[in-house]
């Protein structure tokens, strides 16, 4: 039988987590506030669109994904006070004006004939940018001091990947002509240009390099 009093290393040989991270408490809180704002705008838009899309399968997916993003917003809302922000509303902000314009352009399509534009905005632009922002944060923050943020990022990322796959498959099944390919690409390019100006969901430096 193993001796229970034999000293063991506090970190097992397979546990390679490191203390250093790119973000201090303030920077982590700022990013989390931007995430909460963006997730809120996304779930509000998805909820609003449910009544506007005639395709039944799309309608049901939007309702389901609406909750996923609301839950992410709730996770970030709860994380903010743990990052010394006792008034979560203060940091629940867009990264910059371009992000506000991005969300306005994303939510613009309303007509029943514009399901492709709605899905392109969410699943080919916004969600890939969430995946990028969350992945960068997850891989660069301290794995020990900021573990609660990492746990929430992991939950959110899993949803983002699953939702992206759902949305991309819906899009591929809806796009049936070369003209619709052009429509999808044009809308994607329009939104990507605004996102480029924004620098990503948390502004310049969202995925480093700023």
């Amino acid at each position: 039988m193993a001796d229970p009093y034999k000293p063991r290393e506090p970190f097992a040989p397979w546990d390679r987590r490191q203390l250093p991270g790119l973000f201090d408490v303030e920077e982590s809180a700022r990013r989390v506030g931007n995430y909460k704002w963006a997730e809120m705008k996304l779930f509000e838009t998805l909820g609003g669109w449910v009544a506007t899309v005639p395709e039944l399968d799309v309608k049901m997916r939007l309702g389901t994904h609406c909750y996923h993003h609301a839950w992410h917003a709730e996770l970030w809302h709860k994380r903010l006070p743990e990052l010394r922000e006792m008034n979560p509303d203060r940091l629940t902000q867009p990264a910059n004006d371009a992000m506000v314009r991005f969300v306005a352009a994303l939510a613009e399509p309303e007509a029943a004939e514009h399901t492709i534009e709605k899905l392109v905005g969410v699943y080919r632009v916004f969600i890939p940018h969430f995946i990028a922002a969350y992945t960068f944060h997850r891989n660069n923050t301290s794995e020990i001091t900021d573990a609660p943020t990492i746990r929430s990022l992991d939950f959110a990322l899993r949803d983002e990947f699953d939702d992206w796959r759902d949305g991309e498959m819906l899009l591929q099944s809806l796009i049936e002509t070369p003209e619709e390919v052009d429509r999808a690409a044009a809308h994607q390019a329009r939104l990507e240009k605004i996102m480029l100006e924004a620098g990503g969901i948390t502004g310049p430096g969202t995925i480093g390099g700023a």
């Binding site: 779930f43 838009t45 909820g47 609003g48 449910v50 899309v53 309608k59 939007l62 839950w71 613009e108």
Partner: protein, 285 residues
């Protein structure tokens, strides 16, 4: 995208045909008096022994299906249509708290699952999407500019009706020996009790310091309850296909007095419907 989406613009594929409440009530196939009345069973409650039980159950399941679509759309719109409260004007009537929005998003997910469940149950029962008309009264109750009215009209009245409908369908599945139907209805019933309780809790919380607004909301709920009684389709009378699920309503936060009031309103709606049908028949003669 606009704030506040009109019922006429609800997006549907080509299988759906939408009608309003008046058209639904004027349908001679549902007459409670007049020459068609004799063709109906003496007891109107949905039971397997009714000669038209299969068709009536398919009709009711299709009604659940379209009702779930509209409930999904209504919850989604409440996420979108209102801003968060401004700290300078916390009593504004056109804003909703963040936590209420989260609850509405949760409800949107639940209603999406209910649409999925009712599509599969409809197929199981031999119904097709679009086989019956869609009455859009449910979404109309979700169109108010005041979120508290939506809570009263949708979460308390509509979701309350859903409790009654699912209880009736669950019992129908049980008596008919259809465990699949009973199983699914029981799960949906659990969600609906949660939604009604959510509505009851938020209604109290949001109107805590505004008794006049609460009074108006409860009056609106009463009006919607009368409408959702579908001219007597839901009441404690055997003339109504759908019963009143007292126990589950109490679990969802309704007081005994409130359930009694709904029972009275429903019975009155049944009598009004009979009178309307009789007058319509008389004028046609």
């Amino acid at each position: 995208m606009r704030k506040f989406f009109p019922v006429e613009d609800l997006a549907r594929d080509s299988r759906f045909t939408q009608i309003n409440m008046r058209q639904a009530e004027a349908d001679p196939r549902t007459a409670l008096v007049g020459p068609n009345a004799g063709k109906r069973a003496k007891v109107n409650r949905l039971t397997p022994s009714r000669p038209d039980a299969s068709e009536a159950a398919r009709n009711l399941m299709h009604g659940i299906f379209v009702g779930e679509i509209q409930a999904l759309e209504g919850a989604g719109r409440t996420c979108h249509d209102f801003e968060l409260p401004d700290s300078k004007d916390p009593l504004s009537t056109d804003t909703v708290p963040f936590a209420l929005k989260l609850d509405m998003a949760r409800q949107a997910w639940d209603e999406s699952r209910h649409v999925e469940i009712s599509v599969k149950l409809g197929e199981w029962m031999g119904a097709e999407i679009g086989q019956f008309a869609e009455n859009t009264i449910l979404f109309e109750a979700a169109c108010s500019n005041d979120p508290v009215m939506r809570l009263a009209g949708v979460n308390r009245a509509l979701e309350g009706l859903a409790i009654d409908v699912f209880t009736t369908m669950k019992e129908f599945g049980e008596v008919a020996g259809d465990p699949f139907l009973e199983f699914c209805e029981d799960w949906m019933l659990a969600d609906e009790v949660t939604h009604v309780k959510m509505g009851s809790d938020w209604l109290r919380k949001v109107t805590e310091n505004d008794p006049e607004r609460r009074k108006k909301a409860l009056e609106f709920q009463s009006i919607v309850d009368r409408l959702f009684s579908f001219g007597g389709a839901r009441s404690e009378s055997d003339d109504s296909p759908i019963g009143l699920a007292r126990r589950f309503r109490e679990l969802a936060g309704f007081t005994t007095d409130e359930v009694d009031e709904i029972a009275d309103v429903s019975l009155a709606a049944l009598e009004a419907r009979k009178a309307f049908s009789a007058a319509a028949m008389a004028s046609a003669e």
